[in-house]
């Protein structure tokens, strides 16, 4: 009998083209997403006078730098140049582009799953660290740097060393109004930003199986913030139901073949992980960050820490984080006033996220300004068909086009210096949302609650919340 294998072992084994004595393996890449920020890689290609090896497996998307208002016009000439260069490269090398004028344009990690380009069993790379998102389908997906992007473009392969395997089992179930985002922040706070470094992370357990695809995408998206380069959930009926009927996904007999193969991807009973962590789903509360790293996360009922620790480096870290965030040690998180809110990004701007925010905002007014940028243009139209856009605009928030928007502070959507933003994004690093911006990460429902009260708020305490 063969040795029991984990989901990750199976994904790895099925992509190894060649194994070197030193342990590095050459892996086949099934999907490669490039964006307008991939210009360094295309320049490397040009310098070597090479072409794209597999245009049919390469997909371009304009998302990182694009404006979310006034489209299709791009006011910033540098951005217009970058988007233009991506179009030129797509035309020259013959790969499919989801450009600014494409009805299916959106953030790369939202578009891949939506188009059926992301499938179980595939190896997926992109020059963006949150490529881990696609692992939600039971794919091996990870972010790469520009030199690796160039290598994949030229060869459709990538050199990797096999990571160790780690499993996080989430038992029980998440409470009402506790989402995958809260779970993700809870996990990162529990294991730290280094906690999964060097590991391929698999999520398992009843609380994970119960998650929708959207929730699994959010969880795998945030796993990079725990140091994991890739994260995954075993494919099941929820996964297969999502894939069915998506534009680029197999159909008919090909889909039956695929599903048969995908069923075999589950981790075998008795397979060994290098590290196991287990978490009680019922213990996860709505969670927010107070500091400048995603691991600085606490339940909304908690207080900001004091700058005290036996470890002087830790104490000085807390002091620096409190100072940057403009907070006092010991203050209740629910007393923190926000200046604006943002709902968007590849973490939390799919339809389910917008519905969760709308459920809180329906019939209410926001007391601070805010921006909502859907994860893709298809999500935008679906939300409008349900009337979600009107709930947002009637609450006083702005409804924009799709892109990375205020997640990254390089496309015109910025949090002003010193301003505090309740945000559904994935990084609260210093300056991430703009120079001097103060970011608090949380779920879409929690951002909506903050919009209504003007301070960080436990969404469960709002009266008469339709559930």
């Amino acid at each position: 009998m063969s040795t029991p294998r984990t989901l990750f072992d199976k994904l790895w084994d099925s992509h190894v083209i060649a194994l070197r004595e030193d342990g590095e393996a050459l892996l086949w890449v099934d999907r490669h997403f490039v964006h307008e920020g991939s210009h360094h890689a295309f320049r490397q290609l040009d310098a070597k006078a090479m072409t794209v090896a597999e245009p049919a497996l390469t997909f371009g998307i304009a998302d990182h730098y694009v404006p979310t208002r006034g489209r299709p016009h791009i006011a910033d000439p540098e951005v217009a140049g970058m988007v233009g260069r991506l179009s030129d490269n797509a035309a020259r090398h013959g790969f499919r582009l989801f450009g600014l004028d494409d009805p299916a344009q959106g953030i790369v990690h939202v578009v891949g799953p939506e188009q059926g380009l992301t499938l179980p069993g595939l190896l997926i790379v992109c020059g963006d660290s949150h490529t881990s998102t696609h692992g939600a389908f039971g794919a091996y997906a990870f972010g790469i740097g520009a030199s690796e992007v160039a290598h994949v473009l030229m060869t459709q392969t990538i050199w990797q060393r096999k990571p160790r395997r780690m499993r996080i089992t989430v038992n029980g179930s998440l409470g009402p109004h506790v989402s995958a985002k809260d779970l993700a922040l809870h996990v990162i706070a529990a294991i730290g930003t280094n906690g999964a470094q060097g590991h391929a992370l698999e999520y398992a357990g009843p609380a994970i199986t119960a998650l929708s695809m959207e929730g699994r995408l959010t969880l795998c998206n945030m796993s990079i913030e725990a140091g994991a380069r890739c994260a995954m959930v075993g494919p099941d009926e929820t996964t297969f139901a999502w894939v069915r009927g998506k534009p680029f996904a197999p159909a008919g007999a090909a889909l039956d073949d695929a599903i048969a193969a995908w069923r075999g991807l589950a981790t075998d009973a008795g397979a060994v992980f290098d590290r196991e962590v287990s978490i009680d789903g019922a213990a996860v509360a709505p969670t927010v960050t107070w500091g400048v790293s995603p691991e600085d996360a606490l339940p909304i009922s908690a207080r900001a820490p004091f700058a005290q620790s036996d470890d002087p480096a830790r104490a000085s870290y807390i002091a620096g984080a409190l100072d940057y965030m403009g907070l006092e040690g010991g203050m209740a998180l629910s007393e923190i006033r926000v200046d604006r809110v943002f709902i968007g990004s590849c973490t939390n701007a799919r339809l389910e996220d917008l519905r969760a925010a709308a459920a809180v905002l329906r019939g209410r007014k926001a007391v601070v300004p805010g921006l909502i940028s859907p994860g893709s243009s298809l999500v935008k139209r679906a939300a409008e068909a349900e009337g979600l856009d009107r709930i947002f605009t009637e609450a006083g928030l702005s409804w924009a086009e799709s892109g990375c928007s205020m997640c990254v502070g390089m496309n015109g959507d910025l949090v002003a210096s010193g301003e505090r933003c309740a945000s559904t994004t994935n990084r609260n690093f210093r300056g991430r949302q703009g120079l001097g911006a103060r970011t608090h990460l949380m779920s879409p429902a929690m951002v909506a609650a903050a919009a209504v009260t003007g301070r960080l708020t436990d969404v469960r305490t709002l009266p008469a919340l339709a559930s």
Partner: protein, 206 residues
């Protein structure tokens, strides 16, 4: 790619923890072409006030460390965004080696692909390096990749690096050279990929 064997140079005890790639180069500078050089953007928002004036007391701009080619930082250097521009900013500034107790995965890989050495030391050794470099009359270190040692400022310490990455840096190997030796296997593997792994063309499906 440039080879890295040994380097003797001024070393700056930066001492910061959690220097993510958004700090190494803020996103707003990444629209620029590399041809302009990214060195001026390195750690920009930590080095400069919003009005562009140099921030007083920032180690990298201390004349003692002006010619630094080595940086010593605390834990989790280079986490976050996969932007290779973070390595370009270090490289264009003149940095060839970063010493720290842990690195972001993608950063370390990007670094090696550009000839920059991410040298891993223990937390205790990192603290000793920071302390000694801060008081040494001549803040200079020799990093020997063959021997995996750091010497100078009155110290002699080991460091580690993944053996494959070490070989790549020592030889200046480019991944593409290595991959080309496997073209026949790649073609064979491609031909055996199951049909369902290829994207269908929506127009062909109706």
């Amino acid at each position: 790619m440039e080879r890295f064997t040994t380097l003797t140079a001024t070393a700056c005890p930066l001492g910061l923890a959690n220097v993510d790639t958004d700090q190494l180069i803020p996103a707003r500078f990444m629209k620029r072409s590399r041809a302009e050089g990214y060195g001026g953007f390195l750690l920009h928002d930590l080095r400069f006030e919003p009005d562009g004036a140099a921030r007083a007391g920032f180690r990298l701009d201390d004349p003692r460390y002006a010619a630094s080619r080595i940086l010593v930082a605390r834990r989790t250097f280079g986490t976050g965004s996969s932007r290779e521009a973070a390595v370009y900013a270090l490289w264009d500034y003149g940095i060839r080696c970063v010493i720290a107790p842990s690195f972001g995965d993608i950063f370390a890989s990007n670094a090696v692909k550009n000839g920059l050495l991410p040298a891993l030391v223990s937390d205790a050794d990192c603290e000793r390096l920071l302390a000694e470099l801060a008081r040494a009359p001549q803040p200079q270190l020799t990093v020997d990749l063959e021997a995996l040692t750091i010497t100078g400022a009155g110290l002699s310490l080991p460091f580690s690096l993944d053996p494959v990455r070490r070989l790549q840096l020592l030889n200046g190997w480019d991944d593409l050279d290595l991959t080309r030796r496997h073209s026949a296997e790649i073609a064979g593997f491609r031909a055996a990929r199951p049909d369902w792994t290829w994207p269908t063309t929506p127009s062909a499906r109706a």
